[in-house]
Symmetry: none
Subunit: 409 residues, 2 copies
Amino acid sequence: MDSRKILLMIFDGLGDRPLNELGHKTPLEATPKPNLDWFASNGVNGLVDPIAPGVVAGSDTSHLALFGYDPKEVYTGRGPFEAAGVGIELEPGDIAFRGNFASADEDHRLTDRRAGRIREGTEDLAKALDGLKLGRIKTIVRAGTDHRIAVVLRGRGLSPEVTDTDPHEAGETILESEARKPEAKATAKAVNAFTKQAYKVLKDHPVNRARVAKGEPPANTVVLRGAGVYPELVPITERLHLKAVGIAGVALIRGMFRTVGMDVLEVPGATGGLDTDMTAKADAALGALRKYDLVVLHVKAPDLCGHDGNASEKIRVIERLDAMMGGIKARLPGEIVIAITADHSTPVALKEHSGDPVPLTIFGEGVRVDDVLNFDERSMAHGALGRICGQDVMNLLLNASNRAEKYGA
Amino acid sequence: MDSRKILLMIFDGLGDRPLNELGHKTPLEATPKPNLDWFASNGVNGLVDPIAPGVVAGSDTSHLALFGYDPKEVYTGRGPFEAAGVGIELEPGDIAFRGNFASADEDHRLTDRRAGRIREGTEDLAKALDGLKLGRIKTIVRAGTDHRIAVVLRGRGLSPEVTDTDPHEAGETILESEARKPEAKATAKAVNAFTKQAYKVLKDHPVNRARVAKGEPPANTVVLRGAGVYPELVPITERLHLKAVGIAGVALIRGMFRTVGMDVLEVPGATGGLDTDMTAKADAALGALRKYDLVVLHVKAPDLCGHDGNASEKIRVIERLDAMMGGIKARLPGEIVIAITADHSTPVALKEHSGDPVPLTIFGEGVRVDDVLNFDERSMAHGALGRICGQDVMNLLLNASNRAEKYGA
């Protein structure tokens, strides 16, 4: 039997918990979603613990697991994936941070942790910081979405074992980075030098003068977090013999794709926000299946509703996801395996990630079918996949697509 | 409570996927099998991933797991189990191969990879090769079923890190064995010397002269694959304190039994083929329970139907397996635990092993009972055992038979 193409849909933060306002149902349980239910009814289903039962996964660690890597082996911090996501070509030994443009007074006390959620001019500001020398260490700086920024330190003998400078609260002073291990002292020193130099460079930058003139908070400082060393992963092309491409609006996920050796497809209208064009993404995914073995389509929207604590918005997003799946169902290529899952739960009531498992449907001609009829948390508990771990998912997809290699004889 | 005897039934390749020709049911789901269903209804059930979810198991790695060993620790290749299966007493350091008698021309090009599926005279041919010296390395050669052969290299400093000589296709030239690691160079050289010497010894052997005279392809060469080093396993008698015996028609599985320290029971009529005498095997198994703590009964037939892509034959085999279980049910010894499972799935549509999980029923007086009514893939998904790994099975059997040792106090 021939091998199949694989379409993996990852709906960020889709899993949830029961809400009183929804009659003690989760958003998935409360939303009519005929197309998602059709895939569940005609596929095999289960609940996935992205890392392990009860463990709260980040989007980064979860994606690593879903792509078949052991996060405990390869994950050091989120910085490198953000940096890869904004297009920085990382090298072994690089230490990467993610961070924010922020507003601070002369004493480095934060007045706005996101510089008024600055949207314009951040590329100019990043350019002003890019290439800054901190002794023998070189910095690489790129603007991300809105106020977000990626900062990479490049040089000899750097360590990711340094603490964040981001105090996470307005009114607090920017933190001094500290070495968690002795070998990280030089790195912490460089980080603190960066904080000071960045302020000097940014405070009188034309972009900020214009902002102050308009009464907007200046993006006159940078706070950093998530230090990580560039993970040298065996690319998915080699490990699983899959030519793979990913579609995502957000930089972190694009960085995940690049880091595991996947191509990244640019889709106009894919924003990583609630305004993302899901139809355009689905069209692009179906098109990419002609050229690639594995296409991953990531949608950030449900996670945003979870973080906002907005149940009705999460329901609207689920309706839109269902419509997108309806479009895929209507144009279903023959020799294909489709998997629908999430990277983690972001319960509306919690406004944060939780360690609750997420639904998984695997659908395709010849794939076993179980008795599950609905794509939701409660129904999935009866699926034939049982309760599995994120790291199992890629093996299950290789098997369903007749691409798995035999272990033994 | 007293400990029980254990009867473990392993139906090779029994698991399957839904087939359109069976109304989107698997062969197990499509076959009336009142006795298998009776055991499922009166036992506890689940789905077993022989190695891990989605991972495609060989019969060798799967049996190791079912017997409680970690294949990742002890498995190096299939050769040693084949060699043990045909009665070669392996020693630590031995490198064992499985292979075929084949037909080749003078340039070592294969004209028939199975020498016309030769059945007679193979023992004489193997004897002619047995004891061949390759420098300081000694060879041990035994004929297996039909065209199959086991070859062992014995000597100092040998390594299993050598490639196969079997090109797997008629018309191709026999491959030169190559060293995968520097320390395997001498072994690869010995393998290539064996290929040449075997041809010299075999080409004018009386058995082959007679074959050529009758117009049959001569068994004038040997192709080798699956190099492995003899695994030094702690025998099951010591690890689990079980006096154990196995019944199987095929050499590989007999070799698995011997390697893990089980006795092998010879049952007339147990062929490893579709013509195997299941009643005789069941009789022998029930008899052996008087003397042994654990009796393993292996039936190869369902796997053969899967590899042949023959759904109706697989259904007939399932009917015969059910009749065999009916015979066991009719003469059920009192103090017994019976487990019914498979080593892996061999879907008819795939004609190969797949990574789909296999059914498991554990039955016995006092063993918990769940709501599963049918012994098939879909029903097992609702079993109380859930979805477990092959390596869990022996612990579950030790527990069900009141033989498990306490971990802790």
